[in-house]
Symmetry: C2
Subunit: 292 residues, 2 copies
């Protein structure tokens, strides 16, 4: 049970964290802060927080756990401010999709009395914002933690308890390892989805074509509806790795384009292999014990 | 009410057509033919057809409506054979995702007494095969019809009745127009999904990365599990258009790669535009009357 938790940033993730903590009665007091107009009040009204604070200082005061749930770009300044605003002993954690950059800021700005644990719940949906918050968002999701040699067991324990309350499954990774893997599994798919949306909606045929969209198109463009600010920050803080994955993806597409253009009947082998890989992954997802 | 309908090819689409026709009691007799071992029997057992025929000739005999639900590649030979096997007055239709090629075969092989109407229901799921057949697969889906100047109103009426029974929504298009639009909305997304699966599963980090997959990855690779044979045939029969769409997609991705590599903060504008396009499309989907 937490005494006082502060959630900074009350979008889909921050709001869902609050709802889940409340539903589990895991915090005596949940303070929230979001600079967006009316966002804190809305979060309080739907029960995601007990108190909407008008400043970072108010929210952070006396909190034992401070969760940063803003886009990565905002975290640098938040960490700088928390160095003086957070109580000694408070644990700071974040939920950003890129870890190396955030951790380097935390190590630069926070004193040793305010430990930081980098975290990343792999959860989301196309809609962003407090209106989409959902207490069950983290159930069974993978929640990465990226402790470093500076991370104390006590701080790690506090965040592990949070993950337990959320019903998520923890996975420990080195920060650069995390960023490389997530670039392939999450950032690359976002870019692929966005480029697809751009390509079809930018074509003169879009008005007619859009009426022929099926479930495949819907699924393939869902990620493109994600938060632009969050994804810009992800691209800025994980640029090298994402660029590398994109080069691989473009190369695979170019090969397919050449083979399709050449009426290559052996394309079926590529499609069969991708089908097998997808089915094997799905099988492993449905029976996670086999693979862990 | 149809007297005798023949479904040639009893996979996901053929099986689902049979189930839907039976559920609507729209056919007095449903004959089915599939060369796959045991497929016809399984289709009969789940109630997708009344009779599993051992040859195309048996299935086509006396049928007033013959539905080709095989991969496109098999249709050339089927149409050649149906020229002598189908009863005069029988209407032949198909469900292939590419129309120009199938229609040119139909016009080459079928006599005027056996009219052909090209059709394409935009429905599917990741699983293929008779085991995945579903009577509700076509409910509310868009079902394209591509009549030509050779198509009689009576033949068109017969297929329109089928679409009505399925609960689908008909959309009339010129064959090349259909193929161009579907290439962008369906074939390109499949290639994008397959290349993504290839890229991530082909990376040395795949074993670790696969454990970090979230809903985004799941959605973006779902299409890659589709039938390899069907998609090879689609690529072979719609090669030019798909190649053109792929070039546009690769170009969009390359631009994004360059901008991400350059830490371009104005990326947010691209992401915002794609988000708006996706949300507008979704809004139109949910309120179709506004757009039609």
């Amino acid at each position: 049970m937490f005494k006082r938790v502060a959630i900074i940033g009350l979008g889909l993730i921050g709001g869902s964290l609050g709802l889940a903590l409340r539903q589990a009665r895991a915090a005596q007091h949940l303070a929230g802060y979001d600079p967006g107009k009316g966002v804190g009040d809305r979060a309080r009204k739907i029960g995601a927080i007990d108190q909407s604070c008008s400043s970072l200082a108010d929210a952070a005061r006396a909190a034992e756990l401070i969760i940063l749930a803003t886009p990565v770009g905002a975290m640098r300044s938040l960490l700088q401010q928390l160095a003086s605003l957070a109580s000694p002993g408070a644990v700071v954690t974040d939920v950003a999709s890129t870890k190396a950059q955030v951790i380097s800021w935390a190590e630069e700005y926070l004193p040793p009395t305010i430990p930081f644990v980098g975290g990343h719940p792999i959860a989301g949906k196309e809609a962003s914002g407090i209106a989409s918050a959902d207490a069950t968002l983290f159930k069974q999701c993978i929640y990465s933690l990226t402790p470093t040699r500076h991370t104390s067991p006590a701080a790690l324990q506090k965040v592990a308890t949070l993950i337990d309350v959320l019903g998520a499954r923890v996975r420990f990774l080195e920060p650069p390892e995390h960023d490389g893997l997530v670039a392939g599994m999450s950032h690359l798919p976002f870019i692929a989805s966005t480029a697809l949306m751009q390509t079809v909606a930018g074509n003169p045929s879009w008005d007619d074509a859009s009426l022929l969209a099926g479930n495949g198109f819907r699924d393939m463009t869902r990620l493109a509806a994600g938060s632009p600010e969050m994804h810009r920050d992800i691209c800025l803080t994980n640029s090298e790795t994402i660029t590398r994955w994109l080069a691989d993806y473009i190369s695979a597409l170019s090969t397919l384009r050449d083979r399709i253009s050449a009426h290559d009947t052996t394309l079926i082998e590529v499609f069969t292999q991708a089908q097998k890989q997808r089915l094997a992954w799905q099988e492993a997802q449905e029976n996670p014990k086999k693979t862990e």
